[in-house]
């Protein structure tokens, strides 16, 4: 039996997730027909394709759906969708959210709608669902939304410069956190770390790019430095990672050491190489003199629309740390990211239990972009992590200045 609903009546009787002009409800397959209003997808997709995506999401089971829920924001006046929020629960301790509002609306109208959605969802999440902290990311330049975030006790914690493309120009990506007052009472309000200055000293800029003489070319290298090369990680090298991970003597992560499953890492390197363009690129770091594998660095969360990525590095054994090899490998990775892939900016995340990596990033030219609090469990209770950013033009400038 089909029920025909009068437009504007769908939220009648709804008791929560409802504001003065908008309400939120779970997504359903029929929402595929209005996806450009609420989805934030940059690409045109037929209804059938979006419907299949929604069905795949909803057919994972109630628990999985609840842990990664998509709500549609609609106008109370006519039930028309205007935006959405996707919520990822992390052990019900913190929630990360992604908000979308119809990109065809005028800036002021979309900002006001976003402000209302943010207020409805976050107030409910903190007060009723009792999570410790809510995190979300928005573009800069949303005055109404910024005001609402401040009014509900939220604060910006990270600013990644020029990380988003918006209407043909570059704008910053701002990360926000809203803390549950009950937990602020127990743990105190976490510290704030404002971003570092744009003008900064780069103590270890990139070296000039090496152009190889004919005889020096290593078959598998994608980038070559004085002492290192970056090449693909071969699946059969995974066993070495297991071996070294179980012999690790240093603890730098809040979750401690872990046993790497080399087989899984090896298979993953094959799997990601089959995507074109890939969402992540991982390189084995090898000594140029012996091709010995010493580490792994990667570009993860590559965003081909905004031309951004996150960098990550691991040096497997203590004897190769603190010797400048990580920095040399990082500059090779950045040269690949900026000069060959044309990325505009990169970010990096470092747990606060790992100050050595943070110091290395600053030396390489990264800028302190902020601090995410209460991110992990640690010996002291909870701890957070630092975020860093680096623009392609800054990296090039410091390299060229050092050359001169």
């Amino acid at each position: 039996m089909t029920t025909i609903q009068t437009p504007g009546t769908r939220s009648d009787g709804q008791t929560f997730l409802i504001g003065p002009s908008l309400y939120l409800r779970p997504v359903e397959p029929d929402d595929a027909g209005t996806a450009p209003r609420w989805g934030g997808d940059a690409f045109p997709r037929p209804v059938e394709v979006v419907q299949k995506q929604i069905e795949e999401r909803l057919e994972k089971g109630p628990n999985a759906e609840e842990n990664h829920q998509l709500l549609i924001a609609c106008r109370r006046i006519d039930d028309k969708p205007v935006g959405s929020v996707e919520m990822r629960m992390n052990s019900w301790r913190y929630v990360s959210m992604e908000f979308e509002v119809d990109s065809l609306l005028a800036d002021d109208e979309s900002d006001k709608m976003l402000a209302e959605i943010v207020e409805i969802v976050i107030t409910w999440t903190i007060r009723e669902r009792n999570v410790m902290v809510v995190e979300f990311v928005l573009r800069s330049g949303l005055p109404n939304t910024e005001q609402v975030i401040a009014s509900i006790g939220g604060r910006p914690c990270v600013e990644l410069r020029e990380f988003r493309r918006y209407q043909g120009r570059r704008v910053a990506e701002v990360w926000y956190q809203v803390f549950n007052p009950v937990w602020v009472g127990i743990l105190d309000r976490p510290p704030e770390f404002p971003g570092g200055p744009v003008e900064r000293e780069v103590r270890r800029p990139a070296d000039k790019q090496i152009v190889l003489a004919e005889a020096e070319r290593l078959n598998r290298a994608y980038a070559v430095g004085d002492r290192l090369v970056l090449r693909p990680l071969e699946p059969d090298e995974g066993g070495l990672l297991t071996h070294w991970s179980l012999r690790e003597t240093e603890i730098v992560f809040p979750e401690g050491r872990w046993a790497e499953n080399g087989f899984a890492i090896g298979r993953h390197s094959v799997k990601i190489a089959r995507r074109d363009p890939p969402r992540s690129l991982g390189f084995a770091i090898a000594l140029r003199s012996s091709d010995e594998l010493i580490g792994f660095n990667s570009l993860i969360h590559v965003n081909w629309l905004h031309c951004t990525a996150e960098t990550a590095t691991v040096i497997f054994r203590p004897e190769h740390r603190d010797s400048g090899l990580g920095t040399e490998a990082k500059h090779l990775l950045l040269a690949h990211a900026f000069e060959r892939l044309g990325l505009h900016a990169v970010s990096s995340y470092v747990h606060e239990t790992n100050p050595r990596s943070a110091a290395a990033l600053r030396k390489q030219g990264y800028r302190d972009a902020g601090y995410v609090a209460w991110d992990s469990m640690s010996p002291a209770g909870v701890c957070g992590g630092w975020l860093f950013d680096l623009l392609a033009e800054e990296w090039r400038e410091s390299r060229d200045r050092a050359k001169d």
Partner: protein
């Protein structure tokens, strides 16, 4: 055979063709996966196993099919090491497109000399032994050694796409060279030189500023909205309409005549393109705002996410919607999407030389005439070619902003 001072390696020793003084070409094989960083034209690291899978997909096909799009490695004669690769994309055994990729880690000078040497023995082989009518080779612009070799072989620049590549952090132009078989020049005459439009040019129909709507005026499925039109996803069941209109078309715009479109295939293609997370062909339905009536399609084809380029394409299904400015309005919505949303750096377009209306429309919209490829297809008067055009994002924005200031 080649320069005696070179110590010939074992692999090319008895090779009778596709050998130069210091280089030779050979078909790729599975073992070449271990040197993929040198010759594979993708800037993404891939373990040997992944490259081998790719090669199997390419090689485990019908041998005719493999020959029609063959991947050859460019190797050094002194040590058999690859220095790059090329593909021979055959078009009906009449024409061929040669696409070169050289080791990105070697010097610019060496890359130029490799290209010149390869062109020097490959083009004569294609024209004189394989008897093709014409050969196209594309390469970076401004390589004097290569240009000299092209001249020596009586080739010419057919097309010039500005800022098409991102190489070592800088934008580089791309040249397309064309070489014609002398036997066919005798029969058909040498094609007229291609025209290249000026960089400084007048744009008679620039884009209008981006339109922002109140929520109630927003078509549910629109991704970009203009004054009379909007762009939305093409729904597979609309293939039936397009197939019907294709049989009712009264105009012939292509040298190969009108097309018979199959409804299911046309619809399915759009579903397939949109199912890719990061699509390489992004296609829109062009729809009248007033009635929501479908009138055409346009899209960005061959999207290159690294070099930030794409080819634009447009079709208006029925004659009543042609010559009414709809194509231009739809094109500017597409360009707004390409440049402002996706951040593409430049776009290009191809138009049959038998379709001057589309060529005029592109110039009006701000595209620059970027050359012509000849002898591409059969037409009522023998052979016909196609024009190509290019447009930079910065040029499109400047024309839009200048028009906005004037109004």
């Amino acid at each position: 055979m080649g320069n005696d001072s070179q110590q010939a390696s074992s692999r090319s020793q008895n090779q009778q063709f596709l050998v130069g003084p210091s280089l030779y070409l050979r078909p790729v094989d599975l073992d070449d996966a271990s040197t993929a960083a040198i010759w594979r034209p993708k800037p993404f690291p891939a373990p040997v196993e992944a490259v081998q899978d790719e090669l199997k997909q390419r090689l485990e096909i019908d041998s005719e099919e493999e020959l029609a799009n063959q991947l050859l490695l460019i190797c050094r004669r002194d040590n058999d090491m690859p220095v790059g690769s090329l593909t021979l994309d055959m078009d009906g055994w009449r024409l061929v497109d040669v696409d070169l990729h050289l080791d990105p880690l070697v010097s610019e000078e060496w890359k130029s000399s490799i290209t010149a040497e390869v062109i020097g023995f490959l083009v004569p082989w294609l024209l004189e032994e394989r008897n093709l009518m014409a050969v196209s080779v594309s390469d970076l612009a401004n390589r004097p050694v290569v240009e000299a070799k092209v001249q020596e072989l009586s080739g010419r620049i057919a097309a010039h796409h500005r800022e098409k590549f991102l190489i070592d952090g800088a934008r580089r132009d791309r040249y397309y060279y064309q070489f014609f078989n002398p036997i066919w020049i005798e029969k058909l005459g040498f094609p007229d030189p291609p025209a290249f439009g000026p960089v400084d040019r007048h744009v008679t129909a620039p884009a209008r500023p981006s339109l922002k709507l109140a929520s109630e005026h927003r078509p549910d499925t629109a991704l970009v909205v203009g004054e009379r039109l909007y762009l939305r996803p093409f729904e597979p069941e609309e293939g039936k309409l397009v197939a019907q209109w294709s049989l009712e078309d009264t105009e012939i715009s292509y040298p190969e005549g009108r097309l018979i479109l199959t409804a299911h295939t046309y619809g399915h293609k759009h579903k397939e393109m949109a199912s890719k997370e990061i699509p390489s062909w992004i296609r829109f339905a062009v729809v009248l705002r007033e009635t929501n009536e479908l009138i055409g399609c346009n899209g960005l084809e061959s999207v290159d996410w690294v070099h930030r380029t794409a080819e634009t394409e447009t079709e208006l299904f029925r004659p009543i919607h042609r010559n009414a400015g709809y194509g231009t309005e739809a094109k500017h919505l597409l360009l707004e999407y390409a440049f402002e949303h996706l951040g593409l750096h430049m776009i290009y377009s191809y138009v049959s030389a038998k379709n001057p209306r589309s060529g005029f429309a592109l110039k009006k919209q701000g595209y620059r005439e970027a050359g012509r490829f000849d002898w591409d297809t059969f037409s009522s008067d023998g052979l016909s070619g196609f024009w190509t055009f290019d447009l930079l994002a910065s040029e499109w924005r400047a024309a839009r902003d200048a028009a906005d200031q004037r109004s």
